[in-house]
């Protein structure tokens, strides 16, 4: 099942996909363009932990002139960074290089502590797509990538759908692509991750408890380009969804 969270006529509603439209939880069928899309994950009682990987595809690490890491390069985000499908992410007027990052995102389904990689898939509720924008002008070599680059308000669109784990039999063989104004600028496959999803769940849960609703953004492959105001950026992952964002 593919589920979403939207605002329709001023009210937050859960929705599912039906025939290319949205079936709201009150039974109404509405068009994708008729709603305001929210990140597709339900609010959590405590603040959600959002883990994001850097340099997790060998080609992207090379592109950024880093050798592939020996352990995951991970940073955290606050919920202020999240944004919905079909929303706008702001580019500050003074910057020279702002790029998208198309990332398979894991949504944790149950509390995970010291999980073995062979059991890791049991702890996943589903998958969605993140566009983890970065503004490289603000990179500094202190806790890099620093939060000024990666934790900006609304600069991590998520969605459109939360796709049940059962509908993605092999998350490690999904094509990823990004288009800017309809032209393909990034393409890759999740099979090229350096640290795959089961490894990441084993690694993180070895020192921290992951809780339902926590997110793991698994990194992006080669092919990031600068995006300008007005550009329409679509980050798409096979079977998971196509997430649209406009640079504002």
């Amino acid at each position: 099942m593919r589920s979403a969270r939207v605002i329709y006529e001023g009210t937050v509603r859960a929705a599912t996909e039906r025939d290319g439209q949205l079936l709201l939880d009150d039974g109404r069928l509405v068009a994708a363009e008729a709603v305001t899309w929210l990140p597709p994950v339900a609010p959590t009682a405590q603040a959600r932990t959002i883990l994001a990987l850097g340099l997790n595809y060998a080609d992207h690490a090379k592109e950024l002139e880093f050798k592939a890491p020996e352990e995951p390069l991970v940073f955290l985000k606050g919920e202020n960074a999240l944004n919905g499908h079909r929303q706008v992410t702001r580019r500050p007027p003074d910057v020279k290089f702002m790029h998208y990052e198309c990332e398979l995102t894991v949504v944790i389904g149950k509390a995970a502590k010291k999980v073995k990689r062979s059991d890791a898939y049991d702890f996943i509720a589903g998958y969605t797509v993140a566009n983890d924008y970065a503004i490289r002008d603000y990179l500094e070599n202190w806790y890099r990538p620093n939060l000024r680059v990666k934790n900006r308000d609304g600069a991590t669109p998520l969605g459109p759908w939360l796709v049940d784990a059962a509908d993605i039999p092999d998350p490690m063989a999904l094509a990823l692509s990004t288009t800017v104004n309809g032209k393909i600028t990034q393409s890759g496959n999740t099979r090229d991750m350096i640290f795959d999803v089961p490894f990441l769940i084993e690694y993180f849960s070895s020192f921290m408890t992951l809780r339902p609703g926590d997110l793991i953004l698994t990194g992006t492959p080669d092919g990031v380009v600068d995006c300008r105001p007005g550009d329409v950026v679509v980050t798409e992952i096979e079977r998971v969804g196509a997430l649209m964002n406009t640079i504002g």
Partner: protein, 207 residues
């Protein structure tokens, strides 16, 4: 103050002037190459939160932890501070500040939160607060907030330039230099007039 009402908790690196100055000679070297320009933040996620009085588990792989006694500004709304709160920002000691410190700072229970909330107001100047840190009853460190690289108001303003701190979010003022270390079995107590006491005991995980 209930931990349940917290949202995202942020820490700030190198906000103690004494520690910043101690680091200064290294700041132009590899891998840093330049002193930090904007505030350098990190997050202490919800799995790290330990209430006053709670035991904090230390994995066998972590023989000792660094105590990061500090004060957090708890937000009421963007730009508006509800009050001040004691925090114990524990870390696995780490020498490099190049990569984000998730596996050093985000272990279960690694943020003591507590004492009582000192409501913000004209009569309260957080830069005048003084913390006393005791391990097993012995005074190990005092932390003052009158020598910060970015005083509270400036820190809030500079962080606010790139992200919004909303209701329930907290921003720590930074830890002092020469932080004491503690081991399993130790009892850590952080005390501050007006903010009460935050005490936690370190216990060996699984013991």
């Amino acid at each position: 103050m209930s931990i349940g009402s917290l949202r995202t908790v942020y820490g700030v690196l190198l906000n103690s002037r004494a520690e910043f100055e101690a680091w200064a000679p290294k700041m132009s070297e590899t891998p840093y190459k330049a002193p930090p320009k904007a505030p350098v933040l990190y997050i202490k996620p919800a799995n790290t939160w330990s209430a006053h009085g709670a035991d904090i588990p230390l994995p066998a792989s972590v023989p000792e932890v660094e105590i990061g006694a500090t004060i957090a500004m708890l937000m009421k709304a963007p730009g508006e501070v509800a009050g001040y709160l004691l925090m114990n920002d524990l870390s696995v000691p780490h020498a490099s500040y190049f990569r984000p410190p998730v596996r050093f700072k985000c272990l279960d229970g690694f943020l003591g939160v507590g004492g009582s909330l000192l409501a913000a107001g004209n009569a309260v100047d957080p830069s005048r607060l003084l913390l006393e840190v005791r391990i097993n009853g012995e005074l190990k460190q005092t932390v003052a907030f009158d020598q910060l690289v970015r005083p509270p108001r400036q820190l809030l303003a500079e962080v606010g330039e790139f992200m919004t701190l909303g209701a329930g979010d907290a921003l720590m003022l930074g830890v002092g230099a020469n932080r004491p270390r503690a081991r399993a079995g130790d009892h850590i107590e952080i005390e501050c007039e007006g903010l009460g006491t935050l005490s936690n005991r370190l216990v060996a995980e699984g013991a």
